[in-house]
């Protein structure tokens, strides 16, 4: 199979949320889709996520949030990513994300939104389309 581009994804668990079952499932789905995935593990600060995204030269910055602090976290992360010149990367977020928060997440730059109930192939397909 010829892939046009080798896709590199940073998948991070922001904040103190310890629910990582879903994040790890998505990591496996992405690896099986042929992406190179850097999984951060739990408890990442906005600064850490920005630093790893820079160091690893990723195409995609994806967050998994299950414990409700996605909006305050994304508000803190956005200026750091922009200042680091990562504004042109694909920003995604998945997890427990109430529908009423989606517009605000999009406004903050997290355009790929995959709430609970999303299908794995839809996530990987989305990444392929946006990054290629």
């Amino acid at each position: 199979m010829i892939t046009a581009k080798h896709i590199r994804v940073l998948l991070a668990k922001p904040g103190l949320d310890g629910h990582d079952q879903g994040a790890k499932i998505v990591v496996r789905a992405m690896m099986n889709a042929g992406f190179e995935v850097i999984y951060t593990g739990l408890r990442q600060t906005p600064e850490q996520i920005t630093r790893i995204a820079l160091q690893e030269d990723v195409d995609v910055i994806a967050l998994s949030s299950m414990a409700g602090s996605h909006l305050p976290f994304c508000r803190k992360l956005r200026p750091l990513l922009e200042a680091a010149g990562l504004g042109d990367k694909l920003w995604m977020i998945g997890g427990n994300l109430p529908a009423q928060d989606h517009e605000e997440l999009r406004r903050l730059g997290f355009v790929g939104i995959f709430p609970t109930g999303s299908r794995l192939d839809d996530i990987t397909q989305y990444v392929r389309e946006k990054v290629q």
Binding site: G15, L16, D17, G18, H19, D20, Q21, K24, I25, V27, R28, A29, M31, Y39, T40, G41, L42, R43, T45, A67, G68, S69, L71, P72, F73, K76, N96, P98, A99, Q100, P115, T116, G117, R119, L120, D121
Partner: protein, 537 residues
């Protein structure tokens, strides 16, 4: 197409990997090991229940999980639940508290009071449990990484309010090993974390002998992707690791084993679940008696909360979760649990409202008042199917435990991230099976609604103001307390930790001086360091 084509002769396996036959007879019971492990309720090996009369004498405790915002808000919810028939409390703490941080820690911003109640000092416990009789309502603290601190805080509160610690009942989750597999509120590395669990067991055995310092959780391992048989087998391996730690302190097994308890999950196939519990009870009794030489029957009891079921509930058609919850409660009742709690139907979305929490309570009350579930002990016993499957589940658990030991033991496997990797691979496969329709979930991959957007879900509001109030209150405590007493207690804490002594006496001193959760954690981190998560796929 929604309706599956049935092939009656196609092999069916339960989640634990045991083949399920279309019919069971006495021959199956015999060939699976007979009835030697069945016995009578209240007698070794306790397969049928740890008490002779079970619910006939006392129905299960109903202990809905609750806590949010600051201690004032949580106190109101506690009182509401008690007024509606909750017979125990199960306290949810916010993530900063669970991770050992104060509410004004910059990393805690946005998380204070969000998924549970925020606790910084003993003052918060005084508020949260105000007006609640700790001798009548037993309190379970769902706390792990910061458990030693919060147990000290609870004991100090009880002491301050005049209760005799020798009579005090209650439970702390305090199962750190499973936090490394799932749930993730670890703080220190694996070895000192186990040492801290040992400290709490030892301290409680000596000072609060009726308090349950550990509730070993298969629950979250199951949520992370384990099968029912793995859930129980890994929990037993973990419980043995804690027992071994306590034995190193020179305690006799009968001095503490009776105060170990369990927390298991209840979603899935009804018969597999019920047999899991019956099998587990017999196996744990056998382990305690034969491997550990326990003589006191209480040491052999697999006391438990069989609860939750979160992993089985669905985001789609959430109102159907009320029905799922009712079946899970039935499983729990048939399993002979001591305590029950149910995830509420809206928990895939939000913290339960008073309304949804009340429905969960009513679900459990229905079983007691209308459905006859408390009249007869272990009513499924003697069924060819149930006894066969109980034998098979027990053998499966024994195999998993033997395998775990052969691979170097549970502590090593967790430290290296190998258990995590195994269950997460299974969770991935399960997700694929659900998406492909191989593993059927109503409303998810069959019987879907045409439109999936109108739900009767009321979101629990997060009040930024609660955090502000909490931080103000924390600052007031910092100003009012005796700074020298705090400093002296923290110095003792660090010294005791450094010398490898039991840190509970120093923690008791520190909480009474109103040291904060963050301050105490920092002292311990200086000695123990912080856990680094092994990432393996």
């Amino acid at each position: 197409m929604n309706k599956p084509v049935r092939d009656a002769m196609k092999a069916i396996f339960n989640e634990s990997g045991i083949e399920i036959k279309p019919l069971y007879t006495a021959t199956d019971v015999e060939s699976s090991g007979g009835v030697t492990m069945v016995g009578e309720p209240g007698a070794y090996p306790f397969t049928r229940g740890i008490h002779r009369l079970m619910y006939r004498k006392q129905p299960w405790t109903m202990r809905q999980y609750a806590g949010f915002g600051n201690p004032h808000e949580t106190n109101k919810r506690f009182r509401y639940l008690i007024a509606n028939g909750n017979t125990g409390l199960n306290v949810a703490f916010d993530l900063p508290t669970q991770c050992g941080m104060d509410s004004d820690d910059p990393i805690a911003e946005g998380e204070v009071g969000r998924v549970g109640m925020s606790v910084d000092t003993l003052r918060d416990f005084e508020i949260a449990f105000d007006g609640i009789d700790l001798a009548k309502i037993t309190v379970s603290l769902t706390i792990n990484g910061a458990a030693a601190i919060l147990i000290a805080m609870y004991l100090a509160l009880a002491e301050k309010r005049g209760y005799d610690l020798k009579q005090l009942r209650g439970t702390a989750q305090n199962d750190i090993l499973k936090e490394f597999i799932g749930r993730g509120t670890w703080i220190y590395p694996v070895e000192p974390s186990i040492k801290l669990v040992g400290d709490t067991i030892e301290y409680c055995a000596q000072h609060a002998p009726k308090y349950t310092p550990v509730s070993v959780c298969g629950y979250h391992i199951r949520e992370s992707g384990a099968t029912p048989a793995q859930e129980m087998a890994y929990a037993f391996c973990i419980a043995k690791a804690y027992a071994d730690e306590a034995l190193k302190r020179g305690l006799h097994i009968d001095e503490f084993a009776g105060r170990l308890s369990y927390n298991f999950n209840i979603f899935g196939n009804i018969f597999e679940q019920v047999c899991k519990f019956r099998a587990g009870r017999g196996l744990w009794a056998k382990i305690m008696k034969e491997e550990y030489g326990a003589e006191n029957p209480g040491s052999m009891w697999m006391r438990m909360i069989a609860a939750g079921g979160g992993g089985g509930l669905t985001f789609e058609q959430p109102e159907v979760n009320i029905v799922r919850g009712a079946y899970y409660a039935l499983i729990s009742a048939l399993s002979g649990t001591q305590t029950m709690a149910l995830c509420s139907f809206d928990e895939a979305y939000t913290i339960p409202t008073e309304y949804s929490a009340r429905i969960s309570l009513r679900t459990m009350q229905l079983l007691i008042e209308e459905m006859g579930l408390t009249e007869t002990v272990d009513p499924l016993a003697g069924s060819y199917y149930v006894e066969t499957l109980t034998n098979q589940m027990r053998r499966k658990m024994e195999e998993i435990m033997a395998e775990t030991d052969a691979e170097g033991g549970i502590v090593k496997l967790i430290s290296e991230g190998l258990v995590q990797s195994k269950v997460s691979a299974q969770a991935y496969q399960m997700q694929r099976d659900i998406e492909s329709g191989k593993f059927r979930k109503v409303g998810v991959n069959c019987y879907r609604n045409e439109k999936e957007d109108e739900h009767p879900i009321e979101f629990h509001p997060y009040a930024d103001d609660d955090a502000r109030v909490q931080i103000e209150s924390l600052n007031r405590v910092r100003e009012e307390r005796d700074a020298d007493a705090v400093a002296a207690a923290l110095t003792q804490l660090r010294g005791d930790a450094d010398a490898g002594r039991n840190v509970m006496p120093a923690l008791m001193r520190a909480v009474k001086a109103y040291a904060t959760v963050g301050e105490m954690t920092q002292e311990l981190v200086k000695v123990y360091g912080r856990y680094r998560e092994p990432v393996r796929f």
